[in-house]
Symmetry: C2
Subunit: 261 residues, 2 copies
């Protein structure tokens, strides 16, 4: 809510609010997450999620702040004409993170609002703003702690990855990992990479077509590559799936990398 304890309004404690982005893409055979190398004091030189402070003067709301930071630090998510194929990035909020002393700067409490961002095989990021460097890293490297992250960013990546894996089952989230026009093989690849399991191509194709709404054929096809050309699809509005795409061995949660919430 937005209420204080009347006694003295000046006692209302102030926080800095930051947005942190867990940006995922599928490149090659791995789910990758976008990291920046910090250019200054807290955790200087360490890898972290892109993000920064929300500024009420610049940002009309939290999503806008997230968009702005993504552009500033990594050059991604531009809607300018420069980036020929519009690499649109889907942004959605995950949740807020704060515990006392979460940010080591003394006397400064920082609450973070984490965002999940997803895009099709995205270009190399361009470091900017506070970021000394920006790069894609396999999400697995973060989840297994082969790469340590600043702040509680590992937790955020963990939560974000779990959300992605879960929502693949009952939403059209997977279509955000492929370009505007895509083939069923590409879509299947997204599922296989993120779940780390092989799916039956034939059953998958049928499901996708039968309970449509989810995707629509464009009539066009691929060409040039060897093998029979594939039909090209675009996503259609529907997000919630009526019936889940079942993950194999669903009963036996195969722990390994993927610690769920």
């Amino acid at each position: 809510m937005s209420d204080e304890h009347s006694h003295d309004a000046n006692a209302v404690p102030r926080f800095a609010v930051s947005v942190d982005l867990a940006v995922f893409t599928v490149r090659g055979d791995a789910l990758q997450v976008l990291l920046v190398r910090r250019g200054q004091y807290p955790y200087e030189g360490m890898w972290a999620l892109p993000g920064g402070f929300v500024r009420a003067d610049l940002d009309a709301n939290l999503e806008r702040a997230a968009q702005r930071e993504l552009r500033e630090e990594t050059g991604l998510g531009m809607h300018s004409a420069a980036t020929a194929p519009p690499h649109e990035i889907h942004l959605e909020q995950l949740r807020a993170y704060w515990r006392r002393g979460r940010d080591p700067r003394p006397g400064q409490e920082v609450a973070a609002v984490a965002f999940l961002a997803i895009g099709p095989d995205l270009p190399e990021p361009q470091a900017g703003g506070d970021a000394a460097e920006a790069a894609w890293r396999p999400a697995a490297d973060v989840l297994t702690e082969r790469v340590a992250l600043a702040f509680d960013h590992q937790q955020i990546v963990r939560d974000a990855a779990a959300e992605v894996r879960r929502r693949l089952e009952d939403t059209a989230l997977a279509t955000l990992f492929v370009p505007t026009e895509f083939t069923l093989a590409e879509l299947l690849h997204v599922y296989e990479v993120i779940w780390g399991e092989r799916l039956d191509k034939r059953n998958f194709y049928r499901k996708m077509k039968e309970w449509g709404g989810f995707i629509t054929s464009t009539g066009r096809s691929t060409s040039g590559r060897s093998g029979r050309p594939a039909e090209l699809y675009v996503r259609s509005g529907v997000d919630e799936l009526r019936r889940p795409i079942l993950r194999p061995e669903r009963s036996a949660p195969q722990g390994e990398l993927w610690s769920e919430r």
Copy 2:
């Protein structure tokens, strides 16, 4: 993240952070939400969600802040010996809400972190703190705007209710609406009230028992009431359900009250 634009650290804009609670319970034949009547300036006299400012000095993290505010404003969620049957309240974070000017107080930006809280048929709340009054109201009254709420609290209730309805399908969330020991009839009632649809008792009972893990029999039974005594169950650790409890007419989203996200 927790990074600023180096130039001048003093320019880091400060927010007040509040926690707002969407507390749900099932009383009688309706899903009810806990409201408080505001005792002061912004939206004075209007109904709102319980909540208040996070104080880094009092609260170690966001959940604790939410717990504290719930107690202060409504007297619920006490873990003292006073409340004989421990009316435990499940708390979990939903997401953060902020847009410029979300709080009408000039020069004061307030970011809210919304929590979903669920408890079994809870006692009457006792107003306290800033709350002039506290009461249970049918969630439907809020969703249909029969009752107007302060700030963006209607949106929060909408989002929270959608989350509850959705998670009833594939998690053990329903067990949070019933007392520690409960009968299958009580659990069924929760589903029927929240979904607003009748389920087949016999199929429901079987599902609950077959894919156990979800609930465990205590061996004991009810007595005193007319009819055959019912077996008493307790929830068991499992939260995620392997297979969803399907809502009837799932294909045809019956809009009415329940606007989904």
